[in-house]
């Protein structure tokens, strides 16, 4: 009997967790009784076609984002493989875009990124590759809760984490996962679906 009660309780918790909307991540504060949530700030970065891209270009989309650099000898290809998994699943969903940021603006020029996208066999209308002055990209990484900094001791000259981040239409970060861990990414698929459902009701 006790066991049954426990099971019922447990299933209650589980289903409850499933129905909860995704939280809005990051620091929020109260201003005149209104809660202000963490928001991806305005940015302006060059894409693979040397065209400036800003938040306006992502308006009305949710997007999945990561940070990398082309000559990265460590985790980047592993993370890209997972980004590709997500891309393959959602490439035909008009609501979703993919945004990869290069933190190595010096070497990863727009034309190099264009070749990279070509070799990855992805449509750059759907999946854009952004670059800029290294300061600009590294600053914005902070807002995606991604640690990225120059470190001559790190392999390839940069230290950064392999997070994959989900951003909603209001520029709020709603979920993230470790792009180096396929199981974590599998769970992240559930988060993406949940956010999609929010907009498709």
């Amino acid at each position: 009997m006790k066991q049954l009660a426990f099971l019922i309780l447990l299933s209650g918790f589980l289903s409850c967790k499933d129905q909860d909307p995704l939280p809005i991540l990051g620091r929020s504060f109260e201003e005149n009784g209104v809660t202000i949530h963490h928001t991806i700030p305005d940015f302006s970065l060059l894409n693979q076609d040397s065209v400036y891209v800003s938040n306006a270009d992502l308006e009305n989309h949710i997007y999945i984002s990561d940070f990398f650099f082309m000559s990265c000898p460590t985790i980047c290809p592993r993370v890209k493989k997972q980004m590709l998994r997500l891309y393959d699943t959602y490439k035909n969903d008009a609501l979703i875009k993919f945004v990869s940021h290069s933190i190595d603006g010096k070497r990863d020029t727009p034309s190099a990124l264009k070749q990279y996208a070509y070799n990855l066999d992805v449509d750059t209308e759907k999946w854009m590759f952004l670059t800029g002055n290294r300061g600009d990209v590294i600053d914005i990484a902070d807002d995606y809760f991604v640690a990225a900094f120059e470190d001559s001791d790190a392999p390839g000259g940069f230290d950064h984490s392999g997070k994959i981040i989900l951003v909603d239409k209001n520029r709020h970060v709603r979920a993230f996962c470790e792009g180096t861990d396929p199981d974590d990414v599998t769970e992240f698929f559930g988060d993406v679906q949940k956010l999609l459902n929010e907009y498709k009701k």
Partner: protein, 132 residues
Amino acid sequence: MNIKSKLVISLLTLAAFSHCTYEPYPQGKELYEAYCSNCHSSDGTGLKDLIPDIRNSTYYSTRKSQLACIIKHGLVAQDSTQVIMDMPPAPKLSNFEISNIINYINHQWNEDFKEVLILDIDADLENCVNQK
């Protein structure tokens, strides 16, 4: 039954059970995971046209004497090919470790697997072309 035949039987049983998961090159597997799988994936498939699939590489057949060289010294992308990324060198690996990696990937993905000996690897590494 004497001790010896008991031992043989238990070894045979063990072999039968572990047949499917038996890994003859455990260090090679660990080294592959540590040094190679970030790029080529644990399953060898690579990443589209950015990083080659190494399951059917000519480095197991026509170019096999160059395999140790590219592991140790890396491979710089040639302008004539579509490849745009370099494979980094792994200068810290010993010849013995390299032979374990080669045996692991060969055994895993090359149908005509033949074990390489450390002596072969020593000779191959002596004769690397384009050595940096």
